[in-house]
């Protein structure tokens, strides 16, 4: 899995603490930790809140014995003591948050570095209302379908022909903005062959809900065969079912 990604990563990335590999692995492992810790913190904090709300409910006399001094109307506002407890919990939460985020920052460095140029496939993607066009290194263009080989990192240069879009393939955990006049870069690698869907993640007009493209991940040899058959400047176009239907359903 993702073994093709060697690159020149700094040492700490090799340590195993920092998830690497395909973007699916990176995302899943971080998300899992966050979910786990998030749930834990949430349950503890909310549980503590509910417990104390019950414990100090009016009529449970507890409170009155300990504190005689209740706020009175017209006093100048002041605070209660308990600063040490507050400081302790604050620093604890700070440590959790800062260390979590710093940890993910290391994976951010890994993700941002991306695969090296020589073993990856460069493809340009262009969004338009309402679909995606792809251009291969040999100049071949496709519309509505992206064919890629399994196991090989793909680097995408993404832009837009009209409005702001956002290109994402949710199953492969890749996403980037498609901005007119700008080029953004991202990468991904698919380890499993099959058909995935790319979608638009930025509201771009009437067809936004249906602005998708097919992503076909082929076995490397089949891909090579297909790629050989495409010549300079040739093009093909496949619109997804929905898209065609949408364009037809649209009032002229």
């Amino acid at each position: 899995m993702g073994t093709t990604l060697v690159g020149s990563s700094p040492l700490f990335l090799q340590s195993g603490l920092v998830p690497r590999g395909s973007r699916i692995i990176v995302f899943e492992s971080i998300f899992e930790v966050f979910l786990l810790l998030g749930t834990l913190v949430g349950v503890v904090v909310i549980g503590y809140m509910l417990y104390n709300a019950y414990k100090y409910r009016s009529g449970a006399t507890k409170g009155d014995e300990e504190v005689g001094d209740r706020p009175v109307l017209g006093e100048l506002p002041t605070g209660s003591g308990g600063g040490r407890k507050l400081a302790t919990s604050f620093f604890m939460s700070m440590i959790i948050v800062v260390s979590l985020i710093s940890w993910t920052y290391l994976t951010l460095l890994y993700v941002e570095e991306g695969p090296s140029a020589d073993n990856s496939l460069d493809i340009e993607a262009e969004g338009y209302q309402f679909g995606w066009r792809f251009t291969y290194p040999n100049g071949h263009t496709t519309d509505g379908v992206l064919r890629i080989p399994a196991e090989q990192p793909v680097r995408l240069q993404v832009t837009s022909a009209d409005v702001f879009h956002n290109f994402g393939i949710p199953e492969l955990r890749v996403k980037t903005d498609a901005i007119p006049g700008q080029e953004t870069e991202t990468w991904f690698v698919a380890n499993e062959t099959g058909t995935y869907t790319a979608q638009c993640y930025e509201l771009c007009g009437a067809g936004h809900s249906y602005m998708s493209a097919e992503v076909i991940v082929m076995p490397p040899d089949e891909y090579e065969e297909w790629y050989e058959s495409t010549g300079n400047g040739s093009s093909e176009s496949v619109s997804t079912e929905n898209q065609t239907a949408f364009v037809e359903a649209r009032p002229a």
Binding site: F31, G63, P71, L108, Y201
Partner: protein, 860 residues
């Protein structure tokens, strides 16, 4: 600029005015011209902060219903994934619903709802009789209402805006969203921002200048603290939004090309401008809710907040930092790793103070005597929701996760937990202050039922969205396996919405038939609003509130009504309503008597003016009239003529009401200066003017930022200045500098009570200003003949629009100068020259701006 005009008269003293005195709400009709609360007229003319507060609350709830109905429509559409042709709302209609829902809820519901409380409660907490500029306060309200109506109109002009509440470029320009209604929606936002700006200036002046003796900033109640910080953020953030919206309006109506598809970096420019506003906006809508939480927690736990000082410091830090995190909304754009790192760090930095606030609230419950009344339940629930919203927000702060969450329902679920969590607290605030505002208690049982339905509905609505987070945002065709979660959400949406019916019924009925309450129905409430009658008298206090002895006391002079003072001092009355509500025996409030110092009070404050209403109507008509413009031209035919007529009529109404407002004798609240840091000894009007100019600096900053950003994207050196000849610009620089000098002369003459000198120097200023405009007109005409105009390219767009904005400032200044000259001619300003001084401040500011524009647009 017109909003600076009335300010001067509010703060200033005019000759020959009539005394409009106020007493109790119920003894209003003793020959005064301020109608009672039962009269419809009252609500059109009132300038009283409590009336305006009620108007805000009621109006905002109306927009909640509107935004809620749109949300229901969306939730119905989302019941199942919709293939093309199977939609209930057509795709564009759905986009409009999403956009309008977001805009209505954030702008027209959430903030104004909070500001209803701010209006009502803050002056009471501060010990002020009203806001500093009561007419401006009414003006804020009417501008807000009319902006909402204008937004409503946009639905009927071919369809409202459909590009999302973030209004990303270039989808926001007519090439892609051609409906007239889309322009109207943008103009409605402009009007809304005008309302916010007027309101911010007013609140800041009031809160800094008009606190009771002993009520230093440090001693201010937490609700007032949150409002103070909110308003500071609003002042700057909304000025940035105004810049963005004005540029967008110019693109839509006049044909400038800032955001056009072809413009270099137009799309990125919008994201920067929008999010520079948008992130502070997140806290702007949340802070007041936090303030309500803090007050209600303290009251119903019977405990002072833990770590009050740190709580305040944390809020101040958040308010400042909120302006340096905006790019975390742009992690997937082309910004580089260094910038991402920086904004990731600032983002964590801003999340930490919230941890502290949450813990402070939780620890406040310890050793408490907690009463689970409706307000407490809502606020407690809000804290719980906020914790979930906060935890899920940390996920988004991790950039690698944000990459995948961006544009999905994770974001939708997260921000609803936070924002609607805030709404939850504000609903608690509504129950909390309801007895104060109406003098009657709501039905506690129905209140608890409302909470139960609300809380269940809320979580049923939004929690499943975390599970279904893979759904892309603003999309109604999603993966079929997610449908059950969306169906749960839709059911929850209906439960949540319907729960409000219980509240409306409860509050409506109780307002008329609820049990009457005493001054303070809540045991352990401490803030000053509970030390006056429910509802409070028109001018809030009998006597002068002060904290000089370390607690609230009222100083009455001998002549005053003694019984009125007594009400404030004792609180007998026994239990008044269900839910264990009892009148507090705990009070530190005392009443003292002092001999009257000034036996000759000059004039009582005024409470009524119709002009804020008329002025707002005028502004509404202007914007409605210009809404169909494209490339600065009206559409052909009858329709175009009708729109043009509307605009002209609106202009007449606006100008007329501005003049009427200037001439109307109106007196702001009289007050003895108590705590006024950092503006002690400076007149309210002057402080207001400074604050307004501060927001104007940000407005111009936005325009200049947009220019510089665009120019960098274009290539700084490849960009030639638009005017080939800098001489006219240079001449104008000299003209303006000279006019600054004549304004100084005018003030000197006024101080020396030299009428002729005053009139001549004001006149000279006016003439110089006209000279500036004529020179500019000639220059523009020349450029126009060379084929260079607003829409030619982005270079000319920036030139004409930015210098045009400056010229508009000059024109506004000249209108004021003309008005001042005319009045000076008739002998005004010799006794009281403050108006001249404030005009001078404004004029110098306009000149200084030119000193920046000239090199940037003519030389470099």
């Amino acid at each position: 600029m017109s909003d600076t005009d009335p300010e001067r008269t509010d703060g200033g003293t005019e000759v020959g005015s009539e005394v409009v005195a106020g007493g109790h709400e119920d003894d209003h009709d003793h020959g005064h011209d301020f109608p009672g609360t039962g009269s419809i007229k009252r609500w059109f003319v009132t300038t009283n902060h409590k009336d305006v507060g009620i108007l805000y609350i009621v109006t905002s709830l109306f927009f909640l219903v509107l935004g809620g109905v749109l949300a229901w429509l969306m939730r119905i559409q989302l019941w199942a994934p919709r293939a093309p042709g199977e939609t209930i709302l057509a795709p564009v209609a759905y986009n409009q619903a999403v956009s309008a829902h977001g805009l209505l809820m954030v702008f027209w519901f959430l903030s104004p709802f909070a500001f209803g409380f701010a209006n009502y409660i803050v002056p009471l907490q501060l010990g002020a009789k009203d806001l500093a500029f009561p007419r401006l306060n009414a003006l804020s309200y009417w501008l807000y209402l009319f902006s909402g109506i204008l937004f409503g109109v946009s639905f009927f002009q071919g369809g409202t805006f459909s590009g999302g509440w973030t209004m990303y470029a270039p989808l926001n320009v007519p090439t892609f969203t051609p409906d007239v209604g889309a322009s109207t929606a943008v103009l409605a936002l402009v009007l809304f921002v005008a309302s916010v700006t007027v309101s911010s200036v007013n609140f800041l002046t009031t809160m800094h200048r008009m606190r009771a003796e002993g009520l230093t900033l440090r001693n201010m109640p937490l609700f007032s603290w949150t409002i103070l910080l909110t308003v500071w953020m609003m002042l700057f953030a909304f000025a940035a939004l105004l810049a963005a919206l004005m540029v967008l309006s110019a693109d839509r109506l006049l044909g400038t090309t800032y955001f056009a598809m072809e413009s270099p970096a137009g799309a990125l420019l919008w994201t920067h401008l929008f999010w520079f506003f948008g992130h502070p906006e997140v806290y702007i809508v949340f802070f007041p809710a936090l303030g309500v939480m803090a007050e209600v927690f303290q009251t119903f736990t019977g405990r002072r907040i833990v770590g009050r000082k740190w709580f305040i410091i944390a809020m101040v830090l958040v308010a400042i930092q909120s302006f340096v995190v905006w790019m975390h909304h742009m992690f997937l754009t082309s910004i580089n790793l260094q910038v991402k790192t920086l904004f990731m760090i600032t983002t964590i930095g801003i999340s930490l103070p919230f941890d502290l606030m949450v813990f402070a609230l939780i620890y406040t419950m310890l050793k408490g005597k907690i009463r689970f009344t409706t307000p407490f339940l809502f606020v407690f629930g809000a804290l719980l929701l906020f914790i979930i919203g906060g935890i899920t927000g940390v996920f988004l702060g991790a950039v690698v996760l944000d990459y995948e969450f961006r544009g999905t329902y994770w974001v939708v679920a997260h921000f609803h937990y936070v924002m609607v969590g805030g709404v939850t607290a504000l609903v608690g605030g509504l129950y909390y202050w309801f007895p104060k505002i109406t003098g009657r208690m709501y039905d506690e049982f129905l209140g608890k039922v409302h909470f139960a339905a609300y809380f269940v509905g809320f979580n049923l609505l939004y929690f499943p969205l975390f599970v279904a987070w893979e759904t892309p945002r603003r999309v109604f065709d999603y993966a079929p396996e997610l449908a059950p979660w969306h169906q749960l959400a839709t059911i929850g949406g209906f439960v949540l919405g319907l729960s409000f019916l219980i509240m409306f019924y409860n509050l409506f009925k109780s307002a008329f038939t609820g049990d009457p309450v005493s001054d303070n129905p809540w045991e352990y409430a401490t803030t000053a609003e509970w030390a006056v009658s429910s509802p409070p008298p028109l001018e809030n206090f009998e006597g002068t509130p002060t904290y000089r002895d370390g607690h609230l006391s009222f100083i009455l002079d001998r002549e005053s009504d003694v019984t009125g003072g007594a009400t404030a001092a004792d609180g007998s009355g026994g239990a008044t309503a269900g839910g264990g509500v009892a009148t507090s025996p705990h009070t530190a409030v005392t009443t003292e008597y002092e001999p009257t110092v000034e036996a000759t009070e000059v004039e009582g404050p005024s409470h009524a003016s119709i002009w804020p209403f008329v002025l707002s109507l005028g502004a509404f008509l202007i914007l409605l009239g210009i809404s169909p413009l494209q490339d600065a031209a009206f559409p052909e035919g009858m329709m175009g003529a009708a729109y043009a007529t509307t605009a002209v009529a609106g202009f007449g109404v606006t100008l007329g009401s501005l003049i009427a407002m200037g001439l109307e004798p109106f007196h702001g609240p009289v007050f003895d200066e108590g705590e006024a840091w950092p503006f002690s000894g400076i007149d309210n009007g002057k402080v207001g003017m400074w604050i307004f100019l501060a927001s104007d600096v940000v407005l111009f900053g936005g325009f200049l930022g947009a220019y510089i950003f665009t120019r960098f994207a274009f290539g700084w050196t490849g960009w030639q200045p638009v005017p080939d000849d800098p001489i006219p610009g240079l001449v104008n620089t000299y003209i303006l500098l000279t006019s600054s000098f004549t304004v100084v002369l005018a003030l000197v003459a006024a101080e020396k009570k030299h009428k002729l000198g005053l009139v001549t120097s004001l006149g000279a200023t006016f003439v110089l200003g006209i000279g500036f405009l004529v020179n500019k007109a000639l220059e523009w005409q020349h450029l126009f003949h060379e084929g260079l105009w607003l829409s030619t390219n982005v270079r000319t767009s920036t030139f004409f629009l930015t210098t045009g904005l400056h010229a508009a400032h000059v024109i506004a200044g000249l209108i004021i100068a003309l008005y001042l000259t005319a009045r000076a001619w008739r002998g005004a300003y010799l006794e009281d020259n403050r108006s001249v001084e404030y005009f001078g401040l404004y004029w110098h500011f306009v000149d200084i701006v030119w000193l920046f524009l000239f090199p940037l647009f003519y030389i470099l």
